[in-house]
Amino acid sequence: MASNNIKLLIKYARFFILILLFSGFSLLSPHFLTFQNQMNILAQAALLSMVSYGMTLAIVTGGIDLSMGSVLALSSCIAASFLKSGNIIGGILIGLIIGFLCGSINGLSITKIGLSPFIATYGMDWVARGLAYVYMGGTQIYGFSAVFRFLGSGQFLGVPALIYEMAIMTIVLVFVTYKTIYGRNIYATGSNKTATRLSGVNTDKIIISIYSINGLLSAIVGLLYISRLNAAEAVIGTDFTLNSIAATLIGGTPFSGGEGGVAQTFIGAVIMTLLTNGMNILGISSYWQNAVVGFVILFSLFIEKTGKVLSEKRFESVSKTSINA
């Protein structure tokens, strides 16, 4: 019970941080608390949260996916050249397939070859980014058709389309991770891979599927991103990787795997977006952003550790008293 209380406290601490940031920025800047800016924040959070869901799934299985930003760039750059030629469905499909393939390669090299997730995905990060540079040759592709642009920058009933897309994605992923056998297996793999394998779950399959989903999510976000920007370049998406790690950890999914989840990451992504948006509005140089993100990650590690230490202490004192009794 005691450890549950502390877990609840830490969980609500995130809401507290959210409220604190929100009210702080509202007081500091008159431009923050406008409908336009709030919708803007949510739309930005939509893109980040969808990447972060992928990162969360990887971290829940005890891994990580550093390639998401580059896979996003590669898939959207190649898709962009098809989109530009007017083939919208073909372009979207090509983008999704490339994302899926990159993710599957990650999954295969982690499970079948035995690379550490860090190295496998960091290698993919370089290869995918390099391929994107080679493919684009330093140029930009811009000016897509109105139909495609609706996906990322359209509005429906006064609310950006991105927000609906995020809502659908969140609901689907929450359902899959919390309500299906597959979802339970993801958590089981993350908390104890050997035990899960020995109890008859094909953990390799789970891990490959998770990284494939990550590739797919990266591609989806890449398509929405170029649709919102109305341009595709080889350099896009570099910040997504670090930001999504931060969103996941600040949301309360620990790096040790097997805990946390997509719903928590949503809060984390909103906190991260508030931070960057607030910093932009206050006119803080964008060069600070990675530093802030890095400190947020380290800070959440401290919180995680403190939570663990506290709950262990409580647990010890409880078990001692029960033994004495």
Partner: protein, 321 residues
């Protein structure tokens, strides 16, 4: 899974890599006329020197069974810090010294969080990579610190006794580190922590202190690499070092130090870094454009890492039987 520490084990993989080095040299010598010349070899050594120093920083942390992803960012930041101090009228040697101190402090930051706080080394060094990169951009406001005077340029561009100074620096550091890792208590403690942190602790080694000190050393080496890089290219870009961490990991693995730590060492890494420098030089001579070069090298490095891991797996199987 205790690793017995003897020098036989440490050098076990070196002959194989030397063979790889020879193979690469032969291929390039036959296929391009410009490769097998004295000038080009000195050129390769010059290009390799910075990677060699950066790779040593990486190797020390990998020997511990950990990693330092922030090496590239530390290089950028120390280069920029030194450059700015020189431009603000500080004497060159003091600026260089303070640049190295900055590297040591950044290593201390990583080392403290990893050893005394017990945080995951991947996530700590990956975050500090972002933080340090960001700091380098902030203090220069994103701009490159332009050219320096001759006295600073001597470090990276001068020559002494007919050899480039940069090569002499790298050689000096190599000798020092070989001595440190193979002939001192600290060195053998690094190997034993890499073999098993738990068992080293039971054996009475202050493992936290070893980890802490190794990260400081890694920061210092990355700092030196960053300063020499700034001196060599005659400017300090806030993103000059990004990507070096990846090449350094590759040089370490090619050189026979596996991710598990506790085996391999400095000499292997030296050869690994030379192989990478030769690959870069050769691809350049073939006339590939930079983006294609980077992609190809990325592919080659990933392949080498995969081969290394498969090799380890195969060996583990063989020992199992």
């Amino acid at each position: 899974m205790v690793n017995l520490i003897n020098s036989k084990n440490k050098f076990k993989k070196v002959p194989g890599i030397l063979f790889g080095l020879l193979a690469v040299v032969c291929i390039f010598s036959i296929t391009t006329p410009y490769f097998f010349t004295l000038n080009n070899f000195i050129n390769i050594l010059e290009q390799a020197s910075i990677l060699v120093i950066a790779s040593f920083a990486m190797t020390l942390t990998i020997l511990l069974g950990k990693i330092d992803m922030s090496i590239g960012s530390i290089m950028s930041l120390t280069g920029v810090v030194t450059g700015l101090m020189i431009h603000n009228g500080m004497p060159v040697w003091i600026s260089v010294f303070l640049g190295v101190v900055a590297g040591a402090l950044l290593g201390m930051f990583n080392g403290y969080l990893i050893s005394y706080q017990g945080f995951d080394f991947w996530i700590v060094t990956f975050s500090s990579m972002g933080i340090i990169q960001s700091l380098a951009l902030v203090i220069t406001n994103g701009a490159t610190v332009p050219g320096f005077g001759n006295d600073f340029r001597f470090l990276g561009d001068g020559s002494l006794f007919g050899l480039p100074v940069i090569v002499l620096i790298a050689s000096g550091i190599t000798i020092l580190l070989v001595f440190l890792t193979l002939r001192t208590t600290f060195g053998s403690n690094v190997y034993s922590v890499g073999g098993s942190e738990q068992i080293s602790k039971y054996a009475g080694i202050n493992t936290e202190a070893i980890v802490f000190k190794t990260y400081i050393l890694s920061g210092i080496l990355a700092g030196i690499a960053g300063i020499v890089l700034a001196s060599k290219v005659n400017s300090a870009s806030p993103i000059a070092g990004s990507g070096y961490e990846f090449d350094a990991i590759a040089a370490t693995l090619i050189g026979g130090t596996p991710f598990e730590g506790g085996r391999g060492g400095i000499v292997g890494t030296l050869i690994g870094a030379l192989i990478i420098a030769i690959l870069m030089n050769g691809l350049n001579l073939y006339g590939f454009t930079p983006p294609i070069q980077f992609t190809l090298i990325g592919f080659i490095i990933v392949l080498i890492i995969i081969i290394d891991v498969l090799n380890e797996k195969y060996k583990a199987k063989k020992w199992g039987k």
